[in-house]
Symmetry: C2
Subunit: 560 residues, 2 copies
Amino acid sequence: MISIKTNMIVRFICVVLVVLCSDGYHGYIVDPGPTIKATKGEVWPKPQSQDKYDSYFVVRPQVFEFKVLTENDCSLLENAFSRYHRILSNDYQKARNNFDFETNLYHKKLWLTDDNYIGYLDTLNVYLFGPCEDNAYPTFNMSEDYLLVLSNGTAELSSNSTWGILRGLETFSQLTYLGEDTITLRINSTLITDYPRFAHRGLLLDTARHYIPLDKIITTLDAMSYNKMNVFSLAYHGRSKFSLCQSKSFQNLELQTRTKWKEKHPERLQPGVLVFIKDKNLPPLKWAMGRVLEVHKDADGHTRSWGVAKPELLTECYDNETKTGKLGPIDPTKNNTYSFLKELFEEIGETFPDQYIHLGGDEVGFECWESNSDINAFMKANDIVGDYSALESYYIQKLINIVDQLNSSSIVWEEVFSNGVILPNKTIVHVWKDNWQLTIYEVTESGRNALLSSCWYLDHLASDGDWLKFYACDPYDFVGTEEQKQLVIGGEACMWSEVVNQYNVISRVWPRASATAEKLWSDENASDILEASRRLEEHTCRMNARGIGAQPPNSAGYCL
Amino acid sequence: MISIKTNMIVRFICVVLVVLCSDGYHGYIVDPGPTIKATKGEVWPKPQSQDKYDSYFVVRPQVFEFKVLTENDCSLLENAFSRYHRILSNDYQKARNNFDFETNLYHKKLWLTDDNYIGYLDTLNVYLFGPCEDNAYPTFNMSEDYLLVLSNGTAELSSNSTWGILRGLETFSQLTYLGEDTITLRINSTLITDYPRFAHRGLLLDTARHYIPLDKIITTLDAMSYNKMNVFSLAYHGRSKFSLCQSKSFQNLELQTRTKWKEKHPERLQPGVLVFIKDKNLPPLKWAMGRVLEVHKDADGHTRSWGVAKPELLTECYDNETKTGKLGPIDPTKNNTYSFLKELFEEIGETFPDQYIHLGGDEVGFECWESNSDINAFMKANDIVGDYSALESYYIQKLINIVDQLNSSSIVWEEVFSNGVILPNKTIVHVWKDNWQLTIYEVTESGRNALLSSCWYLDHLASDGDWLKFYACDPYDFVGTEEQKQLVIGGEACMWSEVVNQYNVISRVWPRASATAEKLWSDENASDILEASRRLEEHTCRMNARGIGAQPPNSAGYCL
């Protein structure tokens, strides 16, 4: 088939016989092979403390088992054991595929005569000292500490929390590697004491500027767990920035929403981010919570999402005292705006158990407000004539108060803090602009928690393996007291999707976000760059093997 | 399943309710929707001359047919008709999927009462005035001109060459679009006279720095045809840069090579770029032509590919007069180097019918040559003591002479020209460095053809939709006579794969290489930037719909 198709369309120049030997980008190379040689069985992010020895076990997935020692069943752990057993088996199966059974090297069991071989590892004993958290959700203060001991006679993973066990299982799986014989799965004697440096290790994924389908979101979640990241922020906002994240019940909401749309709008169902509707009164916000609703009125122009269901919430835009027919930002002058929002937040609180709601508040434009005489009259009455920032602050302030009344906590972009909105002490300020050291100083000096994203914008591209740029950033890298540093809860890598869609999202996020993951988990002095580069080379191949289409981190190379 | 998995690993912060309305990167936006609105039924690359009218046909793929009027069978065209019929049917099927048959709008045939509707287009008559080129290959001087007329009573595609018909079919397929009713496939009355501005419109893909599997190469070829590119350069070189492109017989060679490897080296077969071998004498270069052979000796170090089969071709490296055991670049001082290369080039000529061989010659390192006393003695005898560039020139000169003797033509990187190697007039100089305007001036002033890649290095990334940077480059943008400009044969977008693998190659190349494609096909004044942006938005969605995982070109948007 290929010859039929390509003959017709493309000349194949027989090309590029570069007969002298050098590498285009890295000078003369005597040894061919990868630029950065991958490690074997090293962990990403690097554990806080690790002793590793030359002696090794051979793991036989066909007999290997995790044995948990708790009083009650814990399906959360049982499911994790299944996942990791599958991962080990896949690695093993790859080894077996490489292996030719006619020559049958495996059955010669050459490792048995290797001095470093100390036996088969057929069981990992798992000790959970706390309760099984089957029905709990990950929380801000959850413990993720664990202890992993693999030595002659002992193979134990222990933790006070289920979350710690999960982190330890990930570490255990990463310690296994293919032996030099390419047919055995091995794991070295190792002692690991591990815990995260920061509580909040997040990834923000913008699925609205371009549609990202569910399977890519699930892949992202898988990859996050392989990198011990623990906060997923799904930025669900259309061009009009109505944004709500998905949650555990994502899939159901998605399906439910689709089905409902199909019932109501059979002629205009789109599988992507965009849903056309004909009836302005139909799309309740409940549905919008489940998916992006960027809503177009028919052919006569666009309104933004809320405007379709609740046009009374939005500001009417004017051109020289004539209504343009367009709707602008939320109208912050009307009481029913706030009663509506309170109701919405209550509903969100029921659906999403996390304590936090991200209220946004960045980069607001004022043109439509400026054009509207009712808005200006309100501002005059409130003594803020011409000060639209003050109007914005007024609005955000009321939102924050609503969230506070509901016993939730809010996260806001740094502008809200910088603009002087009075924030509850428990509000987290999300720092994203340049000059973040100063902002994070001021936020923590005010006694509030700070979350850093400034140096982890994944949409900022560079030509080379640019993870080093992300790896160079440390949230503690500002002048402040020890108390101030304690208020930095962590960071979030942000994948805004102006030029990202389902086809490049996974390879653009991974392994670049892995750099953020390690900076937020590991000790600040854990690695030198070369060591980290080699480990990330292995980790990227590991992600590839587990179905994460990560791009190469460094330079020329390959995965075995 | 998702709830089971994600509960355990990640906190879902309910996030980013950005309740005021602005777009983070483009200021205040009253109308939500895509930043750049896609065109409908516009062609990429833009035809040289096009008249388009409001009147339209409805295309019904279930009855539509291409009718060719030649004396003999032409399977090349018949196959193309099948492909394009499938493309039209897919587009149509998507429309049907969007459509709810209960409300059955289609059967109301609303277009029949539309003043612009001028009938069904059930046949495109295809006139090939030249011979069917079933058994020919695309060549440097092939004609790609075509004429397409779609008007009331006439639907004709005509060309003097098969290649022109193929280009015209692509154009025809791009002219179809989904009507506003979202259920009809339409095509407007159109008159197009079209031909390429440059003969050589290439894409170079480096499949050696990272392994790119066959299916991604086929996808790339498909995408090239959708962009009317006509030269595919597959840079097959390991870190040691032994590079040979694949050709029409790619698939067979690939399969054959795999099979042979499996027979000979069952224990070390890898599906990727790397092949381990145990027997140093086994890999004949014939196989190397079929795939990348980056060859590792067992565990005792690496040699580069040719060194395994033909170690006598390479320079032995020394460290203070002691052999290091490593092999460097080709040894240009030995006669048998050249007799071997002549034999190789003859073989390449039999396998690859294209007239050109790319000899490379860029960025050579001299360290190993410097360390070798035999090399230095040869240089002394030839009166070029210490001038390793002169030695390189000596070598390249001999290669070029061999190619010349074989009645082939060579392409060389610009260094070969700049270093003063005496080149036959027919040698094409491939310009890739900065300051290309001066180089291209000098090359064409010497009467030689030039090929431009400097401004189309796809590995150079920028954060935004950076195709505009590629689009701004014009190969004629240098000061020179009309005769000099005629010597510029075109250009090649280059995808070097330091940080590119199978997971990001397609989205990184497309639609960025589409910018190159249009600059090389269309009239230099064909488009303003906004018009091109809107057309590329449509073209990207078109590629997506045809299975090309292109990334978004501009900013927030969606594909219908």
